[in-house]
Structure formats: C-alpha cells, structure tokens
Symmetry: D2
C-alpha cells in the first residue's frame, strides 16, 4: 500500500505504456439493499466507497481480463490505493438501481487513476477519484504492470475511438 | 446528504457558534480482525473509511454527548457527509492496535470538518479529511446545529486550552 | 425482532393464507469480490449469512413485489429473523459465480421459512434455513402479512405447478 | 472450510486433548454503531453473526494467545466454520453496550464448538452455536490443533475451577 515512486529514467518501452483518459464508457450497476441503509433510511456513507471499489474491481475484470483476486494470486500484481477523494451530492436509496460509471483518467508507469460517478434515477449521487499504485503482490514494492495487461487495457479503453464519430484517442501523458 | 449552502447574512448568534481547530486530542482505537483483511493479508481498503466514520462517531459521542443514532432519532439532527479525502500511506494489519486520532478542524454554521489519522506501531497508515453538513434528520434540509450541542463541543474541544501550558484557543473563523 | 406468537383462534381467512413449500425455483447470483475474502483467500464466513439475506431480499422483491425497504417503509411490514441455521460445506471464492437458490419452505400466519443453498461451479458450498416473523414495522409487534402480498407470493411460488409436468401444489400446512 | 472427519483410531495423546465445557467466562463487548442499523433503527441481522465471529476471534486471542490472523499466517492453522445456528430474541440497538459472552462447549480432536450469547441492558438479544474444524491453513485439510495451543486453551478455560468455590472441571468428552 506504500507508493515508492522511485522514478529514474523511463525506458522507451515503458513510455509507450502510458495511457490517457478512457474513450469508452463502463458501467457497473449496484442493487442497494435494506441492510445498506441506516436509520436515516439512506445508504450509510461507508457503503459508498465500498461500492466504488466494487465498481473499480468490475472495471479491472472487464478491461484487463482479471479481477483483483486473479491479479493478486495468479499474476502477482497488487494495486493498492494510495488516494481517494469523494463528493457526496445526493442520498442513495434502494428506490432505484445505482449506476456506477467508471472511467480511467490515466494509466501511468507506477499508478492508475480512475473516477467513479454514481447515478440514481438520473441524479448524480456521488463522484470520486481513486489512485492505485502497482506493486509486487508479495513484496508490496512498486513495479510496472505486466505488458499484456497494459495492452489489453489500452485496447479496451480505446475501442470506441476507432468507430465512426468516436472520440479520437488522446495523446499519451507522462 | 445534499449540502445547500444557502449562505446569506449570518446572525450575531450564529457567528458565535463558529469554532476553530480543536485544541484537545481524541483517540479511538480499533482492533483489526482477520475478516477485515483481504487475500493480500492487509486490511481491505474499504474498511478504512468505515473505521474513520466509526472514529468520527466516537468523537461525536465524546464531544457532543450523542452518537449519530441519538443525534438522528432523539435530537432530529443529521450530519451527512458531503466530502471525504483520504491518503493511504502504509498497510493496516491485525498485528497492532489501530489508533485513530480525530481532530475537529472547523465547526461552522452549516458544516463540520474533521480530520482522522490512523497509526499502527508508530507508523502513519492513513489520514483523511471529512466534511459533514447539518440537516434536519427528517426533511434532510440544511439547518444550524442545536446551541447546547455546539456549546458542549466548544467546551470539550477547548478543555486543554485552559490548562497551564495548554495551546491557546484559536480565533473563530468564518 | 421479537416473536410474540400470541396464537388464539385462527380465522378461516387466515387459514387460507398458509402456504406449503414453493414449487418454483428462484436463483440469485452473487459476484464474490477480493474484499469478501480473508487472508486464507476464501470468502470470510460472515459474508455468507450476509449473502443469504441478500438472496432472501431478492426473493421477496421477485415474489411479493416489494424489497425489505419497500415492505418496511411503504407497507409497514417488518420481517425480522428469529432463527438461522447454516452448514458450510466448501469454501467460496471469486473463481466462479456464487449461485444462491432460495426456496420458501413454509408461509405461515406468523412466520415464513426460507432455505438458501449456495453453489459454485456445481459444488454445494453452503446451505441454510432462515425463519422470519411478521411484525408491524413501527410497533415491532406480531401481525399477519397483508393479504395482497400473501396472494402474490402464492401465485408466484406455484406458477410452475400449473405447467404440464409441473410439480403439483402441496396441501396447505398449519 | 471443508470438514473431512476421516476419523480412524485416536492415539492416547490425542485423547488427552479433548476438553469439555469451559468453566471460566469470557466477555467481548461491542459498541453498536449507527451504520450497523437499518431503516427499522435496529441492528441489521447480518451484523449479528459478524459480531459473534468477532467475539469468537477475541476468545481465541485470549485463550490461545493467537488471533485468527496469527493462527493462519504464523501457525499455519485454519479454523473454518462448518456450522452455525442462531436464535434472535430481541432487537439490538446502539442504546446499550452489546455484551457478548463466549463459552467453549467442546474442544475435540477435529473441531471446536463455541456458544455466544449477546446481551444488552440485561436482555438476551441473541444466542448461537458455532462449530469450527481444524485444518492446515495452506492445504485446507483436516488436522489436529498444535499441542501448545490446546494446552493453553485448557489452562485458560479451567482457571477458575482451581479457585475456592470454583466450578469443578468437567470430565473430558469424546
């Protein structure tokens, strides 16, 4: 969970891994339950970052082909969070599906930034930004993500860009 | 959970309610359990904001004399969060007690800001800032907190300031 | 949550409400997440009754047309659990969908009994029995469930019985 | 989590490990929080088995000297649950501390049975029985518990029996 941005010279190969904001959309829908709500009859606040993490894990499975369990155990890649920031704009209730949109803002050499927006019945309930770093799952030391996973994320997040009228791919960022 | 900062002129009475950073310290200790940890053998990230909220609820009970259940049901006061921001600096494990220090940064007319720092074995594991607004628990509309609760918070958070060598009370902020 | 089986003479109308074991099947599928698992890399035990409750709430929504939030708040009906019994037969992991089959064993005047079986990749992981009583949501006192809800449950749970080859409806039990 | 009661001849040494009902008492106190409660303003049912497990883990730390994290990671011993049974007798709320009494009913060669009773303000809210088996933490295969852990449990659970007026030790059971 520690982020050792040891930096140093970046190889040309690593530079290519850097990916800008996602041009496709990804949605994860949550059914809010009675037990998620508190005596104020709205979802208890601590449930909301938990749902964002659930949506982000679903994002990984869809885009990288691995959920966190598989990434950790099968691929030896940990993605601990180093930062989260959330704004809560309207109460969440079981009255409507909770639609969580996840967008990758940046895929860097050492970290990945995802934003999550939660919408119920057309109303923005919350939005947040989540930054994870890449670590070796055993040693918990900083590493770069495996090239095949980066490539698959790049392909999946740019899919729409190739379609007519699609948003053009963004230039890579540092 | 919505924050309607309707603003407008503040009455002299309301101005007196405003309270600056806490001069006392408050600590809430958590026993991290096996079930709080994930297959990486560290506390799952979503547990951490949940513990911060638990520490903040303990802060309320100690400083205001009411926990959130009592505030909502007995006093009709809701304190929904509108913002949270967290940095995760080191993994949390069951190896040591998790000491959560909570400090009030600001008690305003419409909102309260608290910071939480989580320490294990002398190492800062996480820190965060949490902003809640005051609402009528039924109508979920903005209100000012009851004067007796404000007064008790002021007394409790300044207790140390009156002691010899204590940190002097801070001037009220807007 | 208290069950006051005040008993007394049952009216003919109430007798008709009694319903025997469900002849249809209902399945609720859970995606097991990284955060549901403990350092043994299997789902933490406390997650399992929580999933059973989630599956039972989904059963209510499907069969009665109301989830627990709607039952409590809109219909004034509480269904607190008075008993649960579970056997854990194999570990649950994120490797496969967790298929939870819920069957109503008995719908009585005062209580409802549901059984839940959790299956992953064809292996029975757990099974349990859950008994709830019907109470007035405010007073928490025993009551009979609303006739329209009973009727809808009866229709939904017997649907398959009317189909060719379907299992015949069971005689009502006390 | 699978229980392979392979049985077979028990060695004389193993027979000595068998321990009958605990003659001391152990209490674990829980602070019920706002977020533990549902819109019915009582603790959500799924929280209750979770608290029982928390109380049982505290029992292990006190009696064996290891919590589940230490047992699994440092001692290679898993104690997966194979059975739980609970009766819910009265609602749990944040109004009072939740006092969970844990008593060991039986320590066998392959399994351990613990009962938990939850009391608030003198009222029995729930009681349950929990059966765990001993497994190798990696292979998840049945094993006997380490002798030093058995011995420490035996000493701790019988401590009061040696005191004047203490309850006499029970004869070992199969």
């Amino acid at each position: 969970m520690t982020a050792h941005h040891t930096g140093g010279e970046r190889s040309p190969r690593l530079h290519l891994l850097t990916e800008a904001e996602q041009t496709t959309s990804f949605v994860h829908t949550v059914t809010v339950r009675f037990g998620d709500c508190d005596p104020a009859a709205i979802a208890y606040t601590a449930r909301i970052p938990a749902w964002c993490l659930e949506a982000i894990e679903a994002w990984w499975k869809h885009h990288a082909g691995f959920d966190w369990y598989e990434l950790n155990i099968d691929r030896g890649l940990g993605t601990p969070f180093v930062h989260m920031r959330m704004d809560f704009r309207a109460p969440v209730t079981p009255r409507h599906p909770l639609v969580c949109e996840v967008i990758m803002k940046r895929l860097g050499h050492r970290s990945i930034t995802l934003v999550v927006a939660g919408v119920q019945d057309g109303i923005l309930c919350f939005e947040g930004e989540f930054v994870s770093v890449f670590v070796d799952a055993k040693a918990m030391k900083a590493r770069t993500p495996p090239p095949d996973i980066v490539e698959r994320i790049q392909q999946t997040t740019r899919r729409r860009a190739a379609e007519p009228g699609g948003r053009p791919p963004q230039p890579p960022t540092a």
